[in-house]
């Protein structure tokens, strides 16, 4: 792995002041992420679950694989969590991203936010996801049927660079 702080328990995490961010190779569990933000002062928890799709623009995707610069990705996730928690006066925010092979249809990211009222939670949840997709140092590779693979880029939704052979310009 690229990461230099690959954990032994399968989860790399940072926790600080109502913010929880993590990376794991394990199956994601919605209940446990909701529990991270549960609060008696909250009137709402919004949970977003991103799942892996079986095609890109109609082309069949066999599986997806995620890799990360763990140390930097966690730091960026914590920056995002803190900024959004403050902006929307959240009780709590938790974000976890799965790494390695993620079979089609399973969760690759979970974001849970809690707040006194639902409007702030809806907004904060969406904003947290968009910030993550724009900034967190995690990369997705789509493996197509037939052996070809592509690194995806969120920035423009464009097809990234082919993986199969580097001479293919």
């Amino acid at each position: 792995m690229n990461s230099e702080q690959e954990s032994h328990q399968g989860v790399d995490l940072l926790e600080d002041d109502g913010c929880y961010v993590a990376l794991t190779h394990d199956l994601l569990d919605a209940g446990s992420i909701m529990d991270k933000v549960r609060s008696p002062a909250a009137g709402a928890i919004v949970l977003f679950a991103g799942t892996t799709r079986d095609n890109f623009a109609g082309k069949a995707v066999k599986e997806l694989q995620y890799t990360a610069y763990n140390k930097l990705a966690l730091r960026t996730m914590m920056d995002i969590a803190k900024a959004i928690r403050t902006k929307h006066e959240l009780k709590g925010i938790a974000m976890i991203h799965r790494l390695g092979v993620v079979p089609i249809g399973e969760e690759s990211i979970l974001i849970a936010v809690s707040s006194a009222h639902r409007q702030a939670a809806w907004r904060a949840g969406e904003e947290a996801l968009e910030e993550c997709k724009a900034r967190v140092e995690v990369w997705k590779r789509e493996e197509f049927s037939g052996g070809e693979g592509v690194w995806r880029a969120n920035r423009d939704g464009a097809v990234g660079q082919k993986v199969a052979d580097t001479t293919d310009a």
Partner: protein, 96 residues
């Protein structure tokens, strides 16, 4: 599993398309090296990497993003990559 940097070297980490292009996840390179010579050094090792990967990527040194110098003329603010530094090539991200 932090890998030690060999004496007199810094480590470069290659993520995503950078890793595919170099067929490596990381390697040690001789330090010190002016940041403005980083891309040229990589290009000398991996022909075509500038156009295919580096031009679309960001660079971090010890987890901090650095701006790549545009010319050779701003020597005063020249960043020098030092022995033991961790440099990373960061292609466009795609989490979620």
């Amino acid at each position: 599993m932090t890998s030690k940097t060999p004496k007199g070297h810094f480590n470069v980490l290659y993520f995503a398309s950078a890793g595919s292009f170099t067929a490596k996840q990381m390697e040690a390179m001789p330090a010190p090296l002016p940041l403005k010579k980083l891309f040229g050094t990589l290009e000398a090792h991996y022909e075509g990497i500038t156009e295919n990967v580096l031009e679309h990527s960001l660079v971090t040194i010890n987890l901090t993003y650095v701006e790549m110098p545009s010319g050779e003329d701003d020597d005063d603010q020249d960043i020098i990559i030092q022995e033991g530094d961790e440099v990373a090539i960061i292609p466009p991200v795609s989490s979620g």
